[in-house]
């Protein structure tokens, strides 16, 4: 656990948290190792954990029958995979697949949700951070659906 | 250049005919104002009989009428729908022709004509407009040689305005009513009871040479005073005014001003303003070929920023709305032009106001934006 707490403290996403808060989060965390091609989770599964990528590359994809899965985003070192754990019904809305060997820290969703309920200051800090990530992702997604490179 | 204001001459109205004859003899195509279709237009004239003697114009926003004068003044009007640009910068011009056959492709420039123009009756605002277009066409990295030749070969007889038009504002733009530069000769009409004479000021060696061959005598002090008084009277009777101070920054800084939306409700994007404006210079090119594909040509034509095509790129027109197109024209004319060419693009001739079918007035639009600048609101 000390190793994880250290990693989280150093991570830009968690920067600015009080040491006690980092400790709380570390208490919900564990290490993961995903092999190339291995799925972190599938669409529809319960969103039990979210992931902080320490090293590697994760593709987010959506599948439609009869077609190859469409990869709509990739995330890399330092980035956060998953926000569905924050809002009911706490289910994943896409597949996440490690493109290459990927080391990640998984943070237990129920554990962290519980701690945020008990400590609203911690909750607010988490909300601020996730909101920022989601706004960026929303903006990028909007650019992607504009299909700016497509022919007019 | 010999130029001596102290020796301003006087010629009679008949000598003006002699002037036209002398220019025709020198193989100039003499162009001057004449009445046609209820307007005063510029066209080839044979003599003073073709001039609009005894006519004046009543101009207002969206309105132009000719009226009879009580005297026989030859130049007793302001400006009509056209300007001299249709001669110096022709509406249609073939740039080159090309042939294609088994041996390959060959492109040939259009042969130059040696037509040269003598303009009779160029107003001060028009002199500035010609100078402005000269800057556009001749002082960029790629001078338009054909334009430069036409301009260089033109003989300009300016006339100082004795009448201010209903939509004129040359005084605001500091482009008149006195003709001060850019002419070979400048005349001021003196009509007093039965005496009908012209003060003549020399502006170039060529002008001096032509005047020398005409019967003339030095102007008297009284005649000089009468001429100056006529010009001063015109200056005080401008139909419009435009406050130019800070106008460039005002227009460039207010692309989202609500006034643009307001004027867009009225503007038909007909492009009349750009056609009658003496400084508007935009053109398009068309490539034509015959049905066999053996010959092709490129033709340049006047264009207007009010058309949808003007700003077309592969995705569509950049300026789709009337608002964007009106804003482009006015901002270019009164603001961007200064960055591009060092002066305003507007000479205050008032044509755009007169010939707008819905009477949009560029001076009124500028004043409205000035009255309520929105620059604070994140332009």
């Amino acid at each position: 656990m000390p190793d994880i707490e250290h990693v989280l403290k150093e991570h830009p996403f968690f920067a600015g948290l009080a040491p006690a808060q980092s400790k709380l989060i570390a208490g919900c965390a564990r290490n993961h190792l995903f092999g190339a091609g291995q799925y972190l989770f599938h669409e529809g599964e319960p969103a039990n954990e979210f992931f902080v990528i320490r090293h590697g590359h994760v593709a987010l994809e959506i599948v439609a029958p009869g077609q190859a899965p469409l990869v709509f985003a990739t995330l890399g070192q330092g980035e956060i995979v998953g926000a569905s754990w924050l809002v009911p019904p706490y289910r994943w809305t896409f597949d996440a697949r490690a493109v290459e060997l990927t080391r990640a820290i998984g943070i237990d969703a129920a554990c962290l949700r519980g701690k945020c309920e008990a400590d609203h200051d911690l909750g607010y800090e988490m909300m601020k951070r996730f909101l920022s990530v989601l706004v960026q992702r929303l903006h990028a997604t909007r650019l992607q659906i504009l299909d700016i490179y497509g022919k007019r | 250049m010999q130029r001596s204001p102290a020796t301003t001459a006087v010629i009679s109205a008949d000598a003006l005919q002699g002037l036209i004859d002398a220019l025709a003899a020198r193989r100039y195509r003499v162009v001057g104002p004449t009445v046609r279709d209820g307007a005063i237009v510029y066209d080839t004239i044979a003599g003073i009989g073709d001039l609009p003697a005894g006519w004046t114009d009543r101009q207002e926003a969206g309105r132009y009428r000719l009226e009879r004068r009580t005297d026989g003044a030859l130049f007793g009007f302001a400006v009509g729908p056209q300007s001299w640009k249709r001669f110096l910068h022709p509406p249609v011009e073939t740039l080159w022709t090309a042939r294609k056959d088994d041996t390959g492709v060959a492109i040939a420039a259009t042969p130059k004509t040696d037509e040269k123009f003598a303009f009779i009756g160029v107003r001060a605002c028009e002199l500035h407009a010609i100078a402005i277009q000269n800057r556009v066409f001749c002082e960029g990295p790629f001078p338009d040689v054909a334009y430069a030749t036409r301009r260089r070969n033109a003989f300009v007889v300016a006339v100082n305005c004795g009448e201010a038009g209903g939509t004129c504002f040359c005084a605001s733009m500091q482009t008149g009513p006195k003709a001060d530069t850019g002419f070979d000769l400048a005349v001021t009409e003196l009509l007093d009871g039965t005496a009908h004479e012209f003060l003549v000021e020399v502006g170039s060696d060529a002008g001096n040479e032509v005047l020398a061959a005409l019967p003339h005598r030095p102007a008297s002090n009284a005649q000089l005073a009468a001429g100056a008084a006529a010009v001063a009277r015109t200056a005080s009777r401008m139909g419009r005014s435009l406050a130019t101070g800070g106008l460039k920054e005002l227009l460039q800084g207010n692309p989202n001003h609500p006034r643009w939306d307001a004027v867009a409700e009225r503007c038909l994007t007909c492009g009349n303003c750009t056609m009658v404006c003496p400084t508007c210079f935009c053109t398009t090119v068309e490539d034509h070929s015959d049905l066999t594909g053996a010959s092709a040509e490129r033709v340049r034509k006047w264009d207007s920023c009010f058309t949808m095509d003007f700003s077309f790129i592969h995705g569509g027109s950049v300026r789709k709305t009337a608002k964007a197109r009106y804003r482009q024209w006015m901002t270019h004319k009164l603001a961007n032009w200064i960055d591009q060419f060092g002066t305003s693009g507007c000479v205050g001739c008032g044509r755009c106001i007169t010939w707008c079918p819905v009477g949009i007035d560029i001076t009124e639009e500028a004043a409205a934006i000035k009255a309520t600048p929105q620059t604070a609101k994140g332009a």
Partner: protein, 277 residues
């Protein structure tokens, strides 16, 4: 007997080679029928004339140090560009140019060079990349970021892979969407900027692509700390005469044919985000 070519009259060139890049995009190599081709600056363009059809402005996309040919990468988006794109080896094409202000490559010496390309925007930037790499020692870090619709539409993919093999260039590629075969990034180009290995306080950025992409890439560069007077964009508007006389290519007070197409970001920032300028 042809008229002497000049800025008004096209000079005749012959297509010496064609290469299909994408389904709708072709690279042509042109040699003059007579004489040598004039030198050009990366970022400049020529007006290419298809007999009887018309002219279109196409950026030069080749190596400025290769002095025999003009290289143009043309996308079929209309009557004229389509006619040019369909030209075969040996065909004759008319050419006026080169015109315009190019990328500030010499002025950027000593700084990190960040090149951000979207879609076909990589074509006008390729000459800049060639120029920088041929004088590699004069620059700090060199980063090339490329965005594309999908992996199949990635322009000059082979060259990107070659550049990536160099140890002194960082290549970042991202696509809007992909199938799982693609092992690279999926996402938008601006997202590559915060993580790109360059010093924002000592970098010059060259950006070219669809205008939306350039707007948001410039924002991301500014957010990362690159000064507005060190970001350069290549703008596009309707082009007719290409010599500053017809008025069509105006973007605010700038004529893109003679003041551009490369413009410095801070000087256009005020109108860049405005609609319909």
């Amino acid at each position: 007997m042809s008229a002497r070519p000049g800025p008004f009259i096209p000079q005749l060139y012959r297509v010496s080679r064609t290469q299909r890049e994408l389904a709708d995009t072709v690279t042509l190599e042109l040699v003059p029928q007579e004489g040598a081709r004039p030198a050009f600056q990366p970022g400049q363009f020529n007006m290419l004339y298809a007999f009887g059809v018309g002219e279109v402005a196409i950026s030069l996309s080749g190596d400025p140090n290769e002095t025999k040919t003009y290289v143009h990468t043309v996308r079929d988006v209309g009557a004229v560009s389509g006619a040019i794109a369909r030209l075969t080896t040996g065909a004759t094409v008319g050419l006026r140019g080169p015109f315009g202000q190019g990328w500030p490559i010499a002025q950027a010496e000593g700084a990190d060079m960040v090149i951000v390309a979207g879609g076909l925007g990589l074509a006008p930037l390729r000459p800049a990349i060639y120029q920088v790499l041929s004088n590699r020692r004069r620059y700090g870090r060199v980063v090339v970021l490329v965005g594309s619709r999908n992996p199949q539409d990635l322009l000059f993919r082979h060259e990107l892979e070659q550049w990536r093999q160099r140890l002194d260039v960082d290549i970042g590629v991202t696509v809007d969407h992909a199938d799982p075969e693609w092992r690279g990034n999926v996402g938008v180009v601006p997202a590559l900027i915060p993580r790109a290995p360059f010093d924002p306080h000592d970098a010059v950025a060259l950006v070219c692509g669809p205008e939306v992409m350039m707007r948001f890439a410039a924002n991301a560069l500014r957010d990362a700390g690159v000064a507005g007077d060190r970001i350069y964009l290549s703008m596009e508007r309707n082009m007719k005469c290409a010599i500053g006389l017809c008025g069509h290519c105006q973007f605010g007070p700038d004529f893109l044919c003679k003041d551009g197409p490369v413009l410095r970001y801070d000087r256009i920032a005020a109108i860049f985000a405005a609609r319909e300028i």
